[in-house]
Symmetry: D2
């Protein structure tokens, strides 16, 4: 966690500490969600009931892609010009996380990777919403 | 171009032909823009006046990331549930393309990679706007 | 196709025309393969026999990730220092394409997305091998 | 750290604990390196001496792409068939990390983002080498 704060603090003209902390929390949540979604999609495909989990895997793939892109972009300095596009991207990220959390909730009793992915996407959704209020 | 249409047509329950054509055009424009942005950022960094082009390179990196993610997600079937998150992502893509087109316009007289990137990001911006009206 | 050649020619100190043409062909093949793999994985997950296609989808996901990363990196100038790491990456790309071609071959009679993906991964494998001989 | 171990343990037929721990350590190191490289490239571009740091930024971009792709692929089950391609990818990752560590070492006295990136790429290089001995 503190690693990401350090990365943002090391850039020239870092954002003020409050925004920086929210950005770092978002980046960590998005990275963790991207990993959980990638692992959950792969886990779904390796289960004996993969056919029933296909929709879950598909949802996770979208979520992983948007989380990874959003994390990368949030690691770059947040200029005023980029703020609007960044907000739309975080909105997209929140939407995909919500779909993933809902889909994995349907399977979390039977599959541990769905439980972990549900938790990670809920945490990322929350980080998105907190960031959207601040930027 | 037709390659991407074929990819979308080959999926079960493809969208109706009009939407499918717009999705394919968006995917092609986003992929082309991601490549042009990646090459332009690398080109900026390899120029003797790289210092003056640093802002251009940074803008291109954001644009490449969001274009690649959007293209991947658009290649997956467009369920009703994903429509809203997808629209926010295309909105983010449009915003980044607009910033890139504006930034590269400042350098396109002196650097061919900026001219190509300006054209690709304008084309992608247009494809975003057309898609947003339809989905 | 010619678009990618232009992108590489526009960079300062482009490679000599023969290498440049091979790099451009590789980039185009890798981008096309990444798209075909992304669409095929999504197609597999949307089929009624998704359970039987789970292994195919998993293989396609790996292939898409390595193809997209390799295409991005090949769009940046090929310094002598990067040559060895680039060659290992193209080797990894070739290996994933071979697995994908073999897996999709098993389903290409029944699923058009597998036929298209098999063709794209074979073409990318060939482009990898041609590039590896030249760099 | 333990988060990634949990993700791998949650998949059906996880690798034996020793290999699983090495994979998790590699994934964490590659994700951390991708973030450090992305932030360092952006930091280089935002410095007043961006021109002098252009080569550093370019090296970091390659490294971020290969680290992110390798982390994603390592999150999917390691079948025997994929082992060879995976090894080539980890080899590519090691090569890019070595170049990044060497390049950032030249600037680490003056730029904190280069010091953090040097540390992250050295740690990832080590994780690559440990994994390569085991798979």
């Amino acid at each position: 966690m503190s690693g990401t704060i350090e990365l943002l603090e090391a850039q020239p003209n870092p954002p003020e500490p409050g925004t920086l902390a929210l950005l770092a929390a978002f980046i960590d949540a998005a990275r963790a969600c991207a990993s959980a979604c990638t692992a959950c999609a792969a886990g779904c495909l390796a289960e004996s009931d993969a056919g029933r989990l296909a929709q879950c895997a598909a949802t996770c793939l979208d979520c992983a892609d948007v989380c990874d892109a959003a994390a990368r972009i949030a690691l770059r300095p947040l200029s005023a010009a980029r703020r609007e596009a960044m907000a739309a991207l975080v909105q997209a990220c929140a939407g995909m996380c919500e779909l993933t959390a809902r889909e994995c909730f349907r399977h979390e009793m039977h599959h541990q990777h769905c439980r972990l992915c549900m938790e990670a996407s809920r945490a990322c959704l929350e980080a998105c919403e907190t960031l959207l209020e601040a930027i």
